[in-house]
Symmetry: D2
Subunit: 284 residues, 4 copies
Amino acid sequence: MTAVLLLSCPDQRGVVAATAEFIAAHDGNIVHAEQHVDPGADGSGAVFFQRVEFELEGFGLDRDEIVDAFAPIAQRLGMHVDLRFSDVPTPTAIMASKQPHCLYDLLTRWRSGELPMDLRVIVSNHPDHAAFAAHMGVPYLHLPVTPDTKAEQEVALLAALDEHGVELVVMARYMQILGDRFVAARPIINIHHSFLPAFVGANPYRQAYDRGVKLIGATAHYATADLDEGPIIEQDTVHVTHRDDVQRLTARGRDLETIVLARAVRAHLEHRVLVHGRKTVVFS
Amino acid sequence: MTAVLLLSCPDQRGVVAATAEFIAAHDGNIVHAEQHVDPGADGSGAVFFQRVEFELEGFGLDRDEIVDAFAPIAQRLGMHVDLRFSDVPTPTAIMASKQPHCLYDLLTRWRSGELPMDLRVIVSNHPDHAAFAAHMGVPYLHLPVTPDTKAEQEVALLAALDEHGVELVVMARYMQILGDRFVAARPIINIHHSFLPAFVGANPYRQAYDRGVKLIGATAHYATADLDEGPIIEQDTVHVTHRDDVQRLTARGRDLETIVLARAVRAHLEHRVLVHGRKTVVFS
Amino acid sequence: MTAVLLLSCPDQRGVVAATAEFIAAHDGNIVHAEQHVDPGADGSGAVFFQRVEFELEGFGLDRDEIVDAFAPIAQRLGMHVDLRFSDVPTPTAIMASKQPHCLYDLLTRWRSGELPMDLRVIVSNHPDHAAFAAHMGVPYLHLPVTPDTKAEQEVALLAALDEHGVELVVMARYMQILGDRFVAARPIINIHHSFLPAFVGANPYRQAYDRGVKLIGATAHYATADLDEGPIIEQDTVHVTHRDDVQRLTARGRDLETIVLARAVRAHLEHRVLVHGRKTVVFS
Amino acid sequence: MTAVLLLSCPDQRGVVAATAEFIAAHDGNIVHAEQHVDPGADGSGAVFFQRVEFELEGFGLDRDEIVDAFAPIAQRLGMHVDLRFSDVPTPTAIMASKQPHCLYDLLTRWRSGELPMDLRVIVSNHPDHAAFAAHMGVPYLHLPVTPDTKAEQEVALLAALDEHGVELVVMARYMQILGDRFVAARPIINIHHSFLPAFVGANPYRQAYDRGVKLIGATAHYATADLDEGPIIEQDTVHVTHRDDVQRLTARGRDLETIVLARAVRAHLEHRVLVHGRKTVVFS
């Protein structure tokens, strides 16, 4: 069992030493440490980011004492601190529409132990995946949407996520646009089926076909109020040829979508992602 | 030694048989045949594309008799016919600005026999590569450009290409925008340092850095009057991370640019590319 | 609906024309044709391979007349002929041991219509996947193996495959070695979790870790009596680093295994694979 | 200008803090720090590796005082210490045989400033590249080899490397096997044209063709007395098909070789590689 500190602050001398000393002073053993300095842009100063993971066994502080004990250092350096424990998986909801590939893939990975998430509920605007959710033993919330009920559905959705104590939402090809209140409530990871910023919006495989590109892509990003403009976590592409019509592009893209989304979700669940403006720092 | 027929026509029954019979009737041996049917869009009909390569040894017609002998078939089927010979490399000019990587890479490949081109001249708006061109034994034409001399320079450039009998222009990171007359004169392969259609225009690595993408790309395409909108021949991408600043993106991108451009140039020189509207068919 | 001819014969003049003429003579419309000539080795002659796909609608012969009508041509040219129809999916069995990822992935693709297979039965030496098979509506045959019952189990297995009319076996991480009789009975596609020929045999991820490689791979191949020596259909690799211990290599490899196996199975089911000695021709 | 500390020692508590405190105590600013713990095998204990890069400007010690000041910490923790400066490029020799692609590629990268090496001499058993070396302004040493003069040539080679103060040798497709004394003298980076451990030894593209693999690879590694068994620094692969004969595999492999070798050389020159037994730790 380990603790993970995700830290960010204005870049300054001694910042690496301060945290390392704190952990050493309490007999901690660091198993992973990685840092990054973003130079900043347009006169804003450089920002320091760090992920430090240390063993809880033998550590001189109880879990609930760590934040308070670290507070003087954090205050002095102007640090934003996020503390996580490897044995406390993040309460998560997965949302999907009709297409099953990303949803099924995440469930299979979760079941095999590959994704450390505390999966609380699956939400869909379609009833299609209820039997599979039952087979997997996960509550399934069917919330249909029509243009008339959109606002209501979002209220019900937010209430359900609150009720289930959800801290992370994964949109596994959920095809409804969500309101600002929803986007602001908690981190949402979305998968878009193109290499953003190309082919923003609807039907990216059709757009890709019409443009005659020689590769297609997928992008996992945090959802923000501006559609497809949120911080990118993970992207990948695959070669295609003139033989690939829209249907074949769609089929080939499915593999990309599932893998890119799974990588991004895993990075988030392993507390390896820090957001910086509209960019991310993803530690290895 | 082989002959290559590049054919396109409205899709219709018997079109494969007609060409195969013609070659068989003259004792030809087909060493490579590949076809593609584009379904067409918006009511335009399906279009058939084919590349047929056959041995000249033992073929019953002389080189200069083939087009005439094939004409009745071509006429009946409404075919566009392009006939090439593997031992007649395409007269080519390479254009470059200050950056050497694509130019040097093409020259090295040409020298090693990997690119079947008849390299007639290197043109640059800078004098930097003259010594290397001399070392390689290729004429070097230094045509400086200023805002005032742009029109004149283009006239001189076109005259030089005509004089050298150039049939293909490769823009190996040539950073000047060219006029419609130049673009219309002969095929031009350009390399753009992004995965088009993302990051059109200037400074794509800066654009990529500002957007926080997790991969960068390169695109080789035929130049058209609309900048960066021409038919794409080849694209590729490579993963990058938050550690890669604009300078490192630029360095990593150089490898992509050279390889993507070289692949596209080779495909063209091997007569494997057919243009269809704003798309390409690239046979393997 | 289309028919697919998979052809192979000694390379000779007129072979492309003969087939094209046959199809044209019966008013067939070729929608895809691809060919390959293997130069042969050690004095064996060149071999011609072709895949021709044509529309059944409007074709002048009934399905069961095609082989007979084509027989004179096949005989004259010494052709091996395999005729398939796009609306007759191949009767298939999937075999798996404890690990679910390849099995679940194939089932998800099959359910979504991506894999044109007539899935007759799932066979496993473990009971673990019975509930999921039931959920998917596929018969599940649990055939436990012990060293003492190995021979018996294989007899039961062969009988079950015969009874279900199985023409293709997919070993989706089935970890038992099978006898020569089993291997000879019908095509078997196996997935090996390394880039063959590296890391043959047991525990390839452990072998990869011990060697300190910077990439891991997966290989889908036809099973033969010589373990891991059969004709390769598809391979891929992914980068790894010094941070990846055996457990992480195994986790990262799972994605590769599922995708590489799925690609190979799809190629086979779409009748795009021809075996030539210990190699394959895989048309696009 | 920065200093780089490459550290390794038995894993123990406080090791990260000790180095960070040392740098902070002398007013150093850490710009990059990365660490790795290898768990060890077969009862050997865990080993800690770290790369720390800090700014020399404002640092409280002169360059030649750093090692002595750090010695007490290094001694207490049993550390192996390697100190490098970003403005002191490594004295390097490149060796090549007939094939030019890796040599030319490295020279082009060096000339463009991408590779921070102090290139002292090019050595070849062929005279072919003398003109290009002269064009680039690098001394060229032509040392022909015959079976009779092999021992002599190696003596001359070692003397030349000593005379030029060479600390790193890059074998850019140098096709002669070298003796133990040569291998032991200084680090040697070699490029092998396969994904090791597959296709060890001669003619790997021929071996790959005969096996019918669907991808080819390249491996950059430190040379050791056991041919092709040294610690791997970098590997990559590219897809190939049944169409690729040995000649085409060789041509496609050239791109891989140049890129994989260049990446490995750059990692070494940027002091990002630590050797651990027959493996490497390559920091990002």
